[in-house]
Structure formats: structure tokens, C-alpha cells
Amino acid sequence: MKEKAKIRLIRIPAYLLLAITSVLALVPFYIMFIMGTYKNEDIFKGLRLLPGNYLAQNIQTILQGDVFTPYLNSMFISIVSMVSCILVSALCGYGMSKFRFKGRTVFLRILMITLMMPYQISLAGYLMEMRWLHLNNTLWPMIFVFFANPFGAFWMTQYIGSSIPDTIIESARIDGASEFRIFATIVLPIIKPAIITLGLLIFLWSWNNFIIPLVFVSDPNQYTLPLFVSTLGGSYRIDYAAKLLNLTIATIPVLVFFSIFSKYLIKGMTIGAVKE
């Protein structure tokens, strides 16, 4: 009885802390949205906590600019990055985990080393390489970095190694199925959860990537969404309401998308920290 009462007492500060952090986590998004519904002049007239009535006009202001190109560019980059990374990672994972071959341990060691190399360090070399290949004014530099993603390859190696029994593959081989057929018809369907998780993570990383487009892109037709957002900050046309509405449109839809799949994302991010 006494213990029960104590638990209840602890509950109050516990709930309070959780409530505070939850509110703090949401408030910046809320304010961003609210400010986009006001006339610019009204933003300066004190604290605003409820939506205003200027949303339609602000939308018109925004539509004079080009919001869709950055969206489409980001979509293209993220989807191509995601699909190619999944494919490259899964192929590598299957090769590494289900075959014994000469040099396997060496390749595994190389893979472990690649995990420790943040690509941000090599940006100068990457820029020069892309210049030589005449790709520096295209969207490809932002996609190529995700082709060979060490995390993806490493995780697929572990996942395929532990989730697919060797016997299934053995019996398919005895039936005379080719290795690529086994990969496509047996391996890929079994590792679907891992594909979804990895795909979402790569999509998230690619979508939010900023420094690569910042280094490579100068043509507004090739702006990605984060790059587009960053130019909002520096614009001399000081329409903060439109700026924040622009930001809302650039962030909220994809945030909703990530929220729907947050279970997979969370699972992906805890890989390595917690044993399955």
C-alpha cells in the first residue's frame, strides 16, 4: 500500500518531465506552421499562438517561386539512392554471408574499416573526381555516395547470415536453381523487413543530406529541398511569413511520411546498439 502511494508520487514529476519534453519537441514545428498563416507585418506585432487568416495569400506568394523543382529533385535523388543501395547491399550481404570463398575474411575486414570512414572527410577529392567525370553539375554526385553504403552492406551481411537457414539455399541449389535466381526468389522475399528498414534509413539520410548539394550544386534547377531551404534564410526579400510557410511545406509532408514508418526507422537506428 505504502509502496503504491510512493509510485504515484514519483509519477507526477515523471509525467511532468515527459510532458515538457514532448511539448518542447513539438513547439518549434507548431510555431513554424502558425507563422506561415500570418501576414508578414503581423508577425512583428507580438506573440502569436493561434493560426492567422493569411494562409491563402502566403501560398500565392510561395507559388510565384519554384517549390516543386527542389521537391522533385530530392525525390529523384532519394529514390534512386535508396533502390540502388538496397540492391548493392543485399547482393553483397548474400555473397558475404552465404558463400565461403578465398579472401572472404579480407573483404570482411575491409567492410569493417569502411564503416569508420565518414564521407564528409573526402569531399574535396570527391568534388575533383566528379569534375573530371563531368558530373559535377548533375544530380549524380548526391546519388553515388549512397551506392556503396558500408552500413547497408554490413547490416545485410549480418541479417542474411542470421535470418536465412543454409538448408533452404542448399536445397534450392540441389534443385538446380542458379545463384541469382535463389537471390531473387528466396533471399529477397525473406529479408523484406530489412529491406524496408534500410530503404527508409537511406531515404532519410539522402533526403536530409545538405553538405554534398551545398558543395556541388549552383544551378537552382538542381536544388535539393535542404539546399532550397538554406537559400530561404539568406533571401533579402524579407517575407518571414512566406519563408516559414515554405519551410512548413518543405518539412511537414515528409515528416508525416517518416512518422508513419517510424517503427522501421527506429529499428534501423538501434542496429549495432542492441543485440537482436
Binding site: M32, M112, T114, M116, Q120, L244
Partner: protein
């Protein structure tokens, strides 16, 4: 285990796409950047070999780069303990006091949203929130009569740093929380229940049982936060560099990070060699922590 087969090209075909793509798009740029770091080069003329002088310049002559290293360390030393402890406490609260899987999931998601948001957008939102004139923070402080005059957050060294640290903590505490939540779910209830029967209260159970069991995960979170934190760029860049009329590194370069210095040197001043040397100096720091992390992971897997 597979049976040993005759020498077969198939496995090599499977792993080839990864290793070839890695060689072309990652390994080559890494090696090339490293080579550049020993030269004086603007990316167009013929590179001039200068030995270690770029590295020596960072640590003996370039006060700005040194300040960038100090700032970055400072941000991490303050921000990481806060975000990790906050994340740990929240994970414990959500696990023990919130009833229902759905409610728990909802609270987790809410606190995790900032981490999913693009850091560029976050920088811009906070630029607005902390604006001197119309920023929400000053408006609220004003309404509550906490300050007499609006604080010019972006005007002085320490207030600028405080904003950067708040952004880092705000964005990352949810990440710590979800990792700890995953860790907590692996702790068996038996131990905790036994301790409860012995009369240990909630705090005692957390300190005596939960935290010791979470130690490896605590290490993981701290090191991952450090490694990512060393590459801090987007948020401080957005707070200042993208703002018309603000200095690139904030007042007196107070929020300049190593990555910002690298970016400025390589891609704005076209000192490719010097920029690459800064990048590699940072990389060697990161490498130490990466090796520690790999060790922890290996121990974990062996347990």
C-alpha cells in the same frame, strides 16, 4: 555452414558491386583527399607538394581553425551529457510509467521527431525562434517579464553558443531515448521485480540495476553522438552563414565548427590542400573514437 565448393566466381560477382562502387565513389576520394592534404592546390593549377606544412599550419598558426576545434569540443562536452541523460530518463519514464503500447509509441515518436527533421530546416526554425526582434523566445521572455530588453542571441559569443547547444540537444535527445528504450526492453523483469520485493524503490532500482546493465549501450550512445557531433555543420551553418548580415562563424567565430572551417577553406577559398588537411586532422580524432566503438561492439557480440 556451406560446403566448400570448387573455385567459383559467383560470390565475387555478388560482392563486386559494393566493393567496386566503394572503390570508385569512396575509397578514391578518400585517398585523393589525403594526397591533396600535403599540397598547396586551388583545384585548377598544378598542385605543389608542401609536406606536412598544412597540418603544421592548423595547429601552430591558424587561430581560427584552432578555435573551431575548441568550439566543436566545447559543444559536444556540454551537449552530449545533457542529451544522453535526458534521453535515458525519458526512456525509463516511458517504460515504467506510461501504460499501453500505443501511448508509449506515441510519446517515443513525438520526442523523436526532431531527429527525423532535416537539420537545415531546424537551423532555420531556430534562427526564427531566437530572432532578436520578433523571435518567439524573446517574445515569451518579454511577456513573462523575465528580461527587460530583448536578448540579441546572435550578437554575442556565449548567447550564440547557447543557441547552438540548444539546437544540438533538441535535435538529438530523441535519438538517445530510442536507443535506451531498445536497450531497456532487453533487460529481464525478474531482476527488477526481485529488487522491488526486497523493498528497493524506483530510483534505487534504476541506479542499482538498470543503469549498470545499460552500460554498453550508454557507451554506444556517447560514442556515436561524439562521432556525429565532430562533423557538426548544418545547424550552425544555417544559424549564421545563411543569414544575411551575419558573420560566417558567428560573433568572433564563436560557433565556427571544424567542418565549417573545412568547408570554407576547400569550397569558398579554394584552398583544397589546406581544407583537406583540416578534414583529415578531424578524421584522426574521429578514428580514435571509431576504434573504441568497434571494440565495444565486438565485446557486445561476444557476450
Amino acid at each position: 555452414m556451406m560446403k566448400k565448393k570448387k573455385i567459383d566466381k559467383t560470390p565475387y560477382l555478388f560482392i563486386a558491386p559494393f566493393f567496386l562502387c566503394y572503390a570508385v565513389f569512396s575509397a578514391f576520394p578518400f585517398a585523393f583527399s589525403f594526397a591533396i592534404s600535403f599540397t598547396d592546390w586551388n583545384g585548377v593549377n598544378t598542385p605543389k607538394f608542401v609536406g606536412l606544412s598544412n597540418y603544421i599550419r592548423i595547429f601552430t598558426m591558424d587561430a581560427m581553425a584552432q578555435k573551431a576545434f575548441l568550439n566543436t569540443f566545447l559543444f559536444l562536452i556540454i551537449a552530449i551529457p545533457v542529451q544522453v541523460i535526458l534521453g535515458l530518463i525519458l526512456a525509463m519514464i516511458i517504460k515504467d510509467f506510461i501504460i499501453g503500447d500505443r501511448t508509449r509509441g506515441a510519446f517515443q515518436l513525438i520526442n523523436f521527431l526532431p531527429y527525423l527533421t532535416s537539420s537545415v530546416a531546424i537551423g532555420l526554425i531556430f534562427q526564427f525562434l531566437f530572432d532578436w526582434n520578433y523571435g518567439t523566445v524573446n517574445q515569451v521572455l518579454d511577456k513573462l517579464n523575465i528580461v527587460k530588453d530583448h536578448i540579441y542571441w546572435f550578437g554575442s559569443e556565449w548567447t550564440s553558443r547557447i543557441v547552438v547547444i540548444l539546437v544540438i540537444v533538441w535535435r538529438n535527445f530523441g535519438y538517445s531515448m530510442i536507443i535506451f528504450s531498445a536497450g531497456l526492453s532487453t533487460i529481464s523483469n525478474e531482476l527488477l521485480e526481485a529488487a522491488e520485493l526486497d523493498g528497493a524503490n524506483w530510483f534505487q532500482r534504476q541506479i542499482k540495476i538498470t543503469i549498470p546493465l545499460l552500460k554498453p549501450i550508454l557507451g554506444f550512445v556517447c560514442i556515436v553522438s561524439l562521432i556525429n557531433g565532430f562533423q557538426l555543420f548544418d545547424e550552425p551553418y544555417m544559424l549564421f552563414a545563411s543569414q544575411a548580415g551575419q558573420p560566417y562563424g558567428g560573433p568572433n567565430n564563436s560557433i565556427l565548427t571544424v567542418m565549417m572551417t573545412m568547408f570554407q577553406a576547400s569550397f569558398r577559398n579554394f584552398q583544397m590542400g589546406y581544407g583537406s588537411a583540416i578534414a583529415y586532422a578531424l578524421f584522426f580524432v574521429i578514428l580514435i573514437f571509431s576504434i573504441i566503438q568497434a571494440k565495444i561492439m565486438r565485446q557486445e557480440n561476444e557476450r
